[in-house]
Amino acid sequence: MSYAIETYNLTKIYKSEGKTVVAVDHLNLNVEKGLVFGLLGPNGAGKTTLIMMLTGLTLPTSGSGKVLGYDIVKESLQIRKKVGLLPDPFGFYDHLTAEQNLEYIAALNDVPKAERKKRVEDVLTAVGLYEVKDRKVRGFSRGMKQRLGIAQALIKDPELLIFDEPTAGLDPEGARAFREQVGRLSKEGKTIMLSTHLLFEVGPLCNYIAVINRGKLIVQGRVRELIEKMMVEEGYRIRVKATGDVQTLIANIAQLNEVSEVKREGDTILIKASRDVRSDVNKIALSLGLEISTLQVEEPTLEDLFMKYYRRDEVAEHA
């Protein structure tokens, strides 16, 4: 298996003003290449510290890890050659133009001088800042700076992109532009890691997630598999809309062994079952001569997933 990110008991302990803070606690993570990976957790969960360790900006206290096959301690320079990082918070040289800032970043990445200008123009075009390339960053809005941040991460044509809280402080339009950008990059085959506590902003983009709290990994896996698992554990919620003798339909559905609850809400029937009973409901409706206009499983959202595991961890912590 080819992993983009793998960690083994990765731990970071900070000592500050006589206090010991375990920022990341024996974290074991395996993220395959080509995924859009969401690192989810509340503020202070250890997300940024993990990113700092993965990119070699902070040394782990114990444990180990690899990014794109390179050791995070011994080969961090190789990692930073192939990983585009948008840290949080970050800044640019205000007195320089967007183009000058990126030319400096390109030079630090050893982009040959002859190619530098074109590469800079390409990434500025990709993030929609080409028209303002000669403007000093001092006059940029938060959204423009964020796009410039993405541009600097792209300049090295990275295999893996890591965005730390990428939509924090962005207006809805900026957040949407960011999502579109990530969608495009994902289609290009890049592995993308999004660290955030704003689930609704970037959640729909992720096909793999890891939830961390107090530095510990609570759960990780493909979003599809986690949703399936959650539905099995907590039951399927099926929404039905039918015309005709709805009461008889409800009574028949309630007879199914897997169904634990059936109720009517307005013109909709809500079913809770231990498995997907849509085909059974369809058969019953056909036998009763009813016409079904809606028959769908209500899937848990990423927020539901997060809250389930986060709450479970909080309860366990306080028990």
Binding site: L57, L77, P87, I105, L108, K156
Partner: protein
């Protein structure tokens, strides 16, 4: 892998195009003009006073002004370039962006040091040449070949002196959480080295070795005169011992030796005629311990900054 020259080039460009640098050089230039004018006026007035001997040569007339001005300008430019070298980057968040690229941390700090060395050299060179040129024009005395050699050495040691303060400022900037904090500490430290310690040194020397002159100096016997000289030497020794804790003292000593400025008792038991005649090599030999101290302070402050920065957590 990008070399420190990539960082140095960008930093140098930022510094020399920056308002701070330009303002400093202009202000220093104006101060020099005023200083040269005052030297010119003094010379013009002294020419007409019978019995007053004019200082000889270019250095005899202009060196004191040059040393005085440089002893203020070099630390200020060093502090001005260094106080936000690291903390400014941390505050603005640019350090994270730079370190997210394939660069070692030492590339960043070495690049900054190299850029500061180049910028400081440029500032001091421009200021010194302007001062020397201005003084030569106004005073009507051109430096001799030997004086030029002495001035070149003086400029080199002025750069070293500025870099001593730059290294101290970078150290403060590395350990400080905020730029304002490193700037305030830097200015306070400069004031302590420039004003407070010399005052304390004089007070201590005055208290420990009070000089009592009971009669007019002209009526003193040879023995009384010798005793007075001993007391004065003893007092100066105390003052110098205390002042030697400041980089400023070492710079002024180097300048005195290199520029061949008459320093009387401070230089030892030589007569003023002997003092004036010390060669460049003799001056360098005498200044060697002071040069070493400045190099050591610069190196220690830089190595400390380097080690702290290399281990610092980036959050």
């Amino acid at each position: 892998m990008p070399s420190m020259f990539t960082v140095a080039l960008k930093e140098f460009s930022d510094v020399v195009k920056g308002r701070r640098f330009i303002v400093l050089v202009i202000v220093f230039g104006l101060l020099l003009t005023v200083a040269i004018a005052s030297v010119y006026l003094t010379v013009m007035q002294s020419i007409n006073i019978p019995g007053i001997a004019m200082p000889r040569g270019f250095l005899g007339r202009a060196a004191y002004t040059l040393v005085t001005m440089m002893s203020y300008f070099a630390p200020i430019i060093g502090l001005a370039l260094g106080f936000d070298a690291m903390s400014g980057e941390k505050e603005k968040g640019t350090l994270k962006i730079v370190l997210a690229q394939p660069v070692y941390r030492d590339t960043v700090i070495n690049g900054k040091f190299l850029a500061a060395l180049l910028a400081t050299s440029l500032a001091i060179l421009v200021a010194s040449i302007a001062n020397i040129g201005g003084a030569a024009f106004v005073l009507g005395v051109t430096p001799t070949g030997e004086e030029v050699a002495r001035l070149v050495l003086f400029i080199a040691f002025s750069i070293l002196f500025a870099m001593t303060y730059y290294s101290i400022a970078v150290l403060l900037s590395t350990i400080s959480k905020r730029t304002t904090q490193s700037m305030i500490i830097g200015v306070v430290l400069w004031a302590i080295f420039t004003f407070v310690i010399p005052i304390i040194a004089s007070l201590v020397a005055f208290t420990a070795r009070p000089i009592r002159i009971g009669q007019n100096i002209q009526n003193m016997t040879r023995e009384e005169m010798q005793r007075l000289m001993e007391e004065m030497r003893s007092r100066i020794a105390i003052t110098e011992a205390i002042n030697s804790f400041t980089p400023n003292y070492h710079f002024s000593r180097i300048a005195q030796y290199i520029l061949n400025i008459y320093t009387g008792i401070a230089i030892g038991s030589r007569t003023s005629a002997e003092v004036r005649s010390i060669s460049i090599m003799e001056g360098l030999t005498s200044a060697w311990p002071n040069i070493l101290v400045l190099v050591l302070i610069t190196a220690i402050a830089f190595i400390a900054s380097y080690m702290i920065f290399m281990r610092q957590e980036i959050r």
